[in-house]
């Protein structure tokens, strides 16, 4: 009897272990560090009718004329890739889609296995890319870039998708491509802002501080932000904006790109973290921030709780719908008057598996998204972000009164200043879950100061990179 009970106990415990291993066990066999030779050279094989087409055209990868089923993994909750895929099939009827979708947090965990599996995706939303590029799981897109002329486009954010041979992002071969390029900044509720006498967007950090203090005095919640461990700590947004406000963006980018010797624990970043700590201590954020989910923060902000919220233009459609005419946007102001504003701006990254069956067609789709007028229109209308593309491409028109007008205009300012950064949450695969989120939550709970925060995150960063 008791033997049975003991084995029952063991079984229930072992389930945890077996859960872990049944998911990883099969990977060893498929772990062939596949050579990531770009398949662009093999392009014309698909198009039987292409034989008579001029050589220059044949050199450009396409979806051919034979039926193609693109195997794609999209992120649940975001309409953009679905709408783009529908339009693509309208224009190229021989291409149909087998779309699987999952939450971003699940994609983070699944991606290595999906890429290494037998039915590797032709297109996949990539949560991170360095380790996959290093492991030979992602298609090297350099040849496609040459074929489509991407290498001549000047958008600095394209570099975020480059990985060098030693695993440093920002330069080297291209391993992913953006469907569009997001932009972050400060959104504000116009009615609430009017209550504190805000007529223009603040020009300096000091002016912004004044507005926050006024909001607090007026009994309003100055900043609405999310911060639960499930959503990931939203204070990473104001923190990084403050870092770029009081200092230069280059060291931040180098840290995100994993450059050798890069550190987040710099004197300038300490000033920024201390500034954030002051905001927390002054009660500028909701008291329950450590339990607020991303969607709840936006819902509460849309209902009028909070004058400001740090967020990105992917939220535009939602804000337009729920706060029509009452939503404003400005870039985080620099600390010194006349300085350049900076922002997190990153590609909505999609990659092609090294083992993808229709890599050419997938690459053709990525190029189409950036260059086709109809696709660019969908990109802006549904995604709310800059579609990128060639320098001379025309920007699609946006409905008058939409907040997207403001974010697109702000994107041009950032592009001109060259102050776009990726997110500090993206420096390593787990830095957000294991570093920023718990440490910033501790800061909110008064269990960590600004200096401790940066030291702890840097230690986690080094420990992860040492793997």
């Amino acid at each position: 009897m008791s033997k049975n009970k003991l084995s029952l106990t063991l079984v229930s415990l072992l389930l945890l272990t077996s859960m872990l291993l049944s998911a990883c066990g099969g990977q060893a066999a498929t772990a062939t560090a596949a050579a990531t030779t770009a398949a662009a050279t093999a392009a014309p094989t698909e198009a039987t009718a292409a034989a008579t087409v001029a050589a220059t055209v044949a050199a450009t990868p396409s979806c051919g004329t034979d039926p193609v089923v693109l195997n794609a993994y999209f992120e649940t909750g975001f309409d953009l890739p679905f709408k783009l895929s529908e339009e693509f099939t309208k224009q190229f009827p021989n291409v149909t889609w087998d779309i699987k979708q999952d939450q971003f947090s699940n994609l983070i965990n699944e991606t290595p296995r999906l890429l290494a599996g037998d039915n590797a995706p032709d297109l996949i939303r990539l949560p991170t890319m360095v380790s996959f590029a290093k492991q030979g799981l992602l298609m090297n897109l350099d040849d496609y870039a040459k074929a489509f002329g991407w290498d001549k486009w000047s958008m600095a954010q394209i570099n975020q998708n480059r990985v060098s041979t030693d695993g440093i992002r920002g330069s080297g071969s291209l391993y992913a491509w953006g469907l569009n390029y997001s932009l972050t900044g400060v959104f504000y509720n116009k009615a609430e802002a009017a209550k504190i006498g805000m007529t223009d967007a603040p020009k300096t950090l000091a002016e912004f501080d004044d507005l926050l203090a006024k909001a607090k005095t007026a009994g309003l919640t100055p900043i609405m932000q999310w911060g639960s461990a499930k959503s990931g700590m939203g204070l990473a947004f104001p923190l990084q904006q403050l870092m770029a406000s009081v200092g230069d963006t280059t060291p931040i980018s180098e840290w995100i790109y994993n450059k050798a010797g890069a550190t987040i624990d710099t004197p300038s970043n300490l000033t920024a973290a201390q500034h954030l700590e002051q905001w927390v201590k002054a009660g500028y954020f909701p008291t329950d921030i450590n339990a607020i989910e991303y969607t709840d923060a936006n819902a509460r902000f849309e209902k009028g709780e909070g004058v400001f919220i740090f967020n990105g233009d992917w939220q535009n459609a939602d804000f337009d719908k729920n706060m029509a005419g009452n939503i404003g946007f400005f870039l985080m102001p620099p600390a010194t008057a006349g300085g350049n504003p900076a922002a997190m701006s990153s590609p909505l990254t999609y990659g092609i598996a090294a083992k993808a069956k229709h890599a050419d067609c997938a690459a053709f789709f990525l190029n189409w998204v950036a260059t086709n007028d109809k696709a660019r229109q969908i990109d802006v209308a549904v995604g709310g972000s800059n579609p990128g593309g060639p320098d001379d491409a025309t920007m699609p028109t946006v409905a008058a009164g939409s907040i997207t007008n403001d974010t697109l205009a702000a994107g041009l300012v950032i592009g001109k200043a060259g102050t776009a950064m990726d997110f500090i949450a993206n420096s390593t695969s787990a830095i957000f879950a294991q570093g920023w989120t718990p440490e910033l939550q501790k800061m909110v709970g008064g269990k960590e100061d600004a200096a401790g925060l940066l030291k702890a995150v840097q230690a986690e960063y080094e420990s992860e990179l040492a793997q």
């Binding site: 008791s2 009970k5 415990l13 072992l14 965990n109 639960s228 461990a229 329950d288 607020i292 939550q441």
Partner: protein, 313 residues
Amino acid sequence: MKSKLKSDNSPVASVPSRRNSSNGIRREVLIGWLFVIPALAFYLFFVIFPLIMSIRYSFFNWNGITKMTFVGLKNYITVFKVPDLFGTIINAFELVVYFSVFPVGIGLLIASIIHRVASGKFGEAARTILFLPQIIPLVAAGIIWGWLLSSSGLVNEILKTLGLGVITRAWLGDFTWALPSVGFIGVWVLLGFCTLLLLTGINKIDPSLYESARIDGATWWNEFTSITIPLLKNEIGVCLTVTVTNALAAFDIVYVTTAGGPGNSTSVPGVQIYILAFTQQRIGLASALAVLLLIMVLIVVIPIQLLSKESAQ
């Protein structure tokens, strides 16, 4: 199992021919194995094999894709050296108090009260209500409690109505209260299971023992401490084993309600193993923590088993 086989075989043993007898036994054994093999194959493949592989992985540095490198005990040393990893083990033991001590303690009280005063319809209703949480999937329970315990949730609304607005807070986002709140959800889930098991045990106790105690003028408390608890040691052992395992290997409730936050204050080994293996691709370190979790559960559960076995004898 052995004694059963023997008694089943006794008619065969009386057959004169020794050869026939041994053939018969062999046949019985073979049939026995045939029945066991399918289940055993699954057990070996899905439980024992992963366990052995886990132990093996724990000595390697591996991302799940590329080549593994042998690192000896380094992963185990890392678990003890990194405070956030070791902290999960401390949290798990704190959860034991909520997941085991409360459900078993309160379950004992409720079971004996139901047994003494409410054996009719009321007792049945109480049993059903207490057992309900057990049939709700833990993930659903976690989501519901996440809403109830949020800053504008029902729990705080009730507290405000009672004039206790001062103590309202986002329970799952509070450093002091997040772990007790998760523990409370555990009590809610496991109390019904323990109560039902203990009540079944009480019903097996010879009623004459209670009768004679009552004739001697024993109070409810006397009955409880002198008859119920000593004669329920076996059931209490089962309850403790199941609930302690639930606490130490907790994953779903924690992952759904807090995901280990705020600031790792509710992080338990189960959640860390998941993050290490799937987010960080550190299969070796995740396996080391999993093996330590296994050892930890055995260290706690084996004495409980031995104690309840002793009392059963």
